[in-house]
Symmetry: C2
Subunit: 339 residues, 2 copies
Amino acid sequence: MKIPPHVSIVGATGAVGKEFLEILEERNFPMRSLRLLSSPRSAGSELLFRGEKHVVEALTETSFQGVDLAFFSAGGAISKQYAPIAADGGTIVVDNSSAFRQTDGIPLIIPEVNPEALDEVRQGKKPGAIIANPNCSTIVLLVAVTPLHREATVTRMVVSTYQAASGAGAKALEELTEQSRQVLAGESPSPVVFNEPCAFNVFSHDSKIGEEGYNIEEMKMVWETRKIWNNPDIGISATCVRVPVKRAHTESVTLELERPLSPERAREILGDAPGVQVIDDPKENRFPTPLAASHGDDVLVGRIRKDLSHKSGLCLLLSGDQLRKGAALNAVQIAELFL
Amino acid sequence: MKIPPHVSIVGATGAVGKEFLEILEERNFPMRSLRLLSSPRSAGSELLFRGEKHVVEALTETSFQGVDLAFFSAGGAISKQYAPIAADGGTIVVDNSSAFRQTDGIPLIIPEVNPEALDEVRQGKKPGAIIANPNCSTIVLLVAVTPLHREATVTRMVVSTYQAASGAGAKALEELTEQSRQVLAGESPSPVVFNEPCAFNVFSHDSKIGEEGYNIEEMKMVWETRKIWNNPDIGISATCVRVPVKRAHTESVTLELERPLSPERAREILGDAPGVQVIDDPKENRFPTPLAASHGDDVLVGRIRKDLSHKSGLCLLLSGDQLRKGAALNAVQIAELFL
């Protein structure tokens, strides 16, 4: 891609779109120009970037002419329709939707985990390509677990999640706030976005459930980990649950390893791992929380301990901002691999 | 014990004490008299039971004269000091604290699970005895899992909890309410009861952490399950976490079984199990929630599915009211075994 690139953000007015603007600005991402795209409904609105107003344009098939790099975050249907057009026209597309994650030949990338999976695209003859950004829960999990996997080989993971309302979008976050207000005022909230009341409650993840009884969020963790680790045999048992938290996903992880790994050695490895911050203080009872992880770049890891029920098991509690590292930040880091 | 008994509640003014009064009234528990006991600080206050005012008396060493049955829920130190005095004097003590749960010769009872462990006490020559009530998280877990264990033998459990603030007492519940109000008003809450902000946050359980890196809440699940199931080899990997929920504990449970058990058969077994209600509707995405479990007697069970990562594994999501079945209700049900 041409450097510095002409950049575009599709879905600029959404929850993740706003994170993109913030992160590109923070990281001083080099660019020649920035084009913000959205649905016709949101077109015409203005967003600030580097102190300048940018008018949001309606997305069309010709939007990507002259664009070197496009971040897509407007849902799977928009990605399916427009990402191939952009890529065919020579644009590097980093797609935040699930549209192409399982597609053969499309790299699914976490820069700390499998940057080498980009080599083919980077060395390819065509300037354009689609690169998929994994689902938030998978990113948070694998940033923390991969360094341990490299040392001791994970054979099975049992994961239970504590996922923030904002993972279901800006309206879901509003619903949490509004329902919390209602409950405190003694009123009974009526769920709209979610199937269950979300204030002061916990419920199984709101994504669709397949034949095996797993919801799509859980299966994404399975499918995506297998592709990213290039290991179709890795066993994953996931339970995805929403909690009344605004931002950042927390995960309770039990690993089975091929070789035993002491908590001390795991702490050492994670202390050196990029994108990871160890918060593990049993004396003070200080461990990762979604509040501490919110608006940060790192996945926080703690409660690192031997599994009492497995000879080479290790347990962890981790927390990561699903809108940043789980979405926009990871996508920007993918783009940085092209710079 | 004499029937109907003279009954006493120690810790009558506390969060669980109030549940005792409600449950004894609801279940029309037969009694000749009721004596409410508390610390000198709360003595003199009045509580309603069956429409009549009862004055709370200060607990002393002579409080149990003429008392056939005493429910203790005033913390481990009070139980350690007064429960043996009561039992020596001929009172059946059902103790809700952790003081005697691991003591040899003291039965640790969940009526649906191991009522036979009471036989020795019931057939004993002495009228008095101490019977221990397990910890809330253990009760909720074993009410649901034991029927499956009887059918297919559980060898290992991986459990992650989503525990309500009220599990840490009435003050903790107030802190959740107050902090939620503060956050909605744009203020920054200062934690007092908990170590971490509890509103819109999730954090590792607030109990003390031992040498192996496990907190006491997690170890209670291990120790108590082993005693209740009379199986020192059962493997349990527990991660206990607080969530901003007022009432009822939720648990994500992954079972490893000696023999495979289909989700259909598990649903059938749980459908017939006492104290269990199956809520498992993948089409409508309806599963157990703490809101639905609150103020109910049953442990709700759903998300019953084959573990994709283990040949004879089964996953569940369950939710139970930790103040009722997890504490007062279970204790009253233990007492009912003597009627």
